[in-house]
Amino acid sequence: MHIPDGFLSTPVWATLDVVSAPAVAWVARRAQRETQDHRIPLLGVMGAFVFAAQMINFPVGPGTSGHLVGGALLAIVLGPAAAALVMTAILALQALIFQDGGVLALGANVFNMALAGIAAGYLPYRLWHAERRTVAIFAAGTLSLMTSACLALGQLLISGVPMRGGVLWASLALFLVNALMEGAITVAALGAIERLNPEWVPGPQPASSRTLAGAALVALLVVVIGTLVASAAPDGIQRLTASGADSAAWPQRAMAGVVGIVMILALCYLGGKLMARRRSA
């Protein structure tokens, strides 16, 4: 879900811009280290492929059809760092050229879809690709979409966009349906790709710690769900941050978001460091 400009409150979009910028720089450095020269055009072409593939209709029932979003597919095929970079490029182009998502809101959209979304699209594959490959890929697709959607919803709620109970649950249900479709479509698409050439769907890098990947996934889910719950019940945050003075004071609202974000980033940073150390060991 691409959030346009004008929806998020200033502390929310500003914080996410400030947080996403160094994160993208980190991802770019990482992708550069992991990517051999010849893959630079590959990343671009894969980004274009995802854009184009999003046009293809996947009929799932009478009158309904789904489309590939592609986060999990990119993460599995290119690896998480390269996939995150490609997704960021796609989001930037969508914002400026296609008016899909705002410019100030780019930080939020990048955070939701290129960072958290890609992480959630990769970790299940990393964890379960050996035992239950199809389930792992399905989970990757589903979680990738669900994560971005929940984070987006949370950010909208914190910004004060009103979503009374019924509407919120309806949105979540809708996102869940889309997420499950993404899971199924990702499985089908990767299956077709693999039949053409198994080398295009690599197993994840074995050197990275599996426990860490598991912990990262759990943490990601906790934070995502936590952000959503917390933002839907802002009074709870007031009590937690023990201020309760001015319920409209934006520092408190920003705090909840920032804590969650910092946790995710710290975990990714730690994960990255540990993965690197193990590989060189």
Partner: protein
């Protein structure tokens, strides 16, 4: 396809086209921040921003209806949320949601309609956006339309032979992927054949001129004035 229009627009020669991309990008950001932080009751402010954009469009010699039409693509999405907000009683905020999203889109269109992709990506790079990100953005854009057209033709060919199905769609995606991967190999060969050794040599950036500084200051002053006064 839409892109053809924006590409054509961005090759114009108006005074706005000739401004440094960095100035235009900075002006866009200032405008967006001013717009975004405008409280819903300040309806006169929104009107003033709209007038500012219309003036910019005239300066750029771009068609206002075309611009507005494209910016209006955001409205179905914002209308849903605007309705929700209206329903929960905050009508001014609902209106503000629609106005902000529409005007933001229009402003972004003015940037890309007066600046070719190489221009605004160079501006981003001069503000220390990672080089790899810039390269990927350029490559994605370069091959976006080629591959999209390929996908379109494959869809038509498939539909000529029967109804669409889930399996068919998956097969299409698979073949599109394969052709894209092979295309990437071809591009890499072309790069190697012309001496590529791993580093893209960046294009030199033009100096920031007085007219650019003047333009940027004028935009900032205008936005600030509207923000503070209205």
């Amino acid at each position: 396809m839409h892109h053809l229009v924006i590409d054509r627009w961005s090759r114009g020669t108006s005074p706005l086209h000739q401004r440094d991309p960095r100035a235009k990008l900075a002006a866009l950001l200032v405008f967006l921040i001013a717009l975004s932080t405008t409280p819903p009751p300040a309806q006169a402010g929104f009107a003033a921003y709209a007038i500012l954009l219309i003036l910019a469009a005239r300066l750029a010699r771009l068609p206002i209806r075309g611009l507005a039409g494209r910016a209006a693509l955001v409205l179905p999405f914002s209308a849903t949320f605007a309705l929700l907000t209206w329903w929960s009683g905050d009508s001014l905020r609902a209106l503000a949601l629609a106005e902000k999203s529409f005007l933001s889109g229009l402003a972004a269109l003015l940037l890309v309609g007066t600046t070719p992709l190489t221009g605004w990506t160079a501006a981003l790079e001069s503000w220390h956006a990672p080089r790899m990100l810039i390269l990927v953005i350029q490559f994605v854009y370069r091959y976006l339309f080629v591959i999209a057209e390929q996908a379109q033709r494959m869809r038509w060919a498939a539909l000529c032979r029967g109804r669409g199905s889930f399996r068919l769609a998956a097969g299409l995606v698979g073949v599109l992927f394969a052709r894209s991967w092979q295309r990437a190999d071809g591009v890499y060969h072309s790069m190697l054949a012309r001496g590529f050794r791993g580093r893209f040599v960046p294009a030199p950036s033009a100096p920031f001129r007085a007219s650019d500084a003047l333009f940027l200051s004028a935009c900032m002053a205008g936005c600030l004035a509207i923000r503070i006064l209205l």
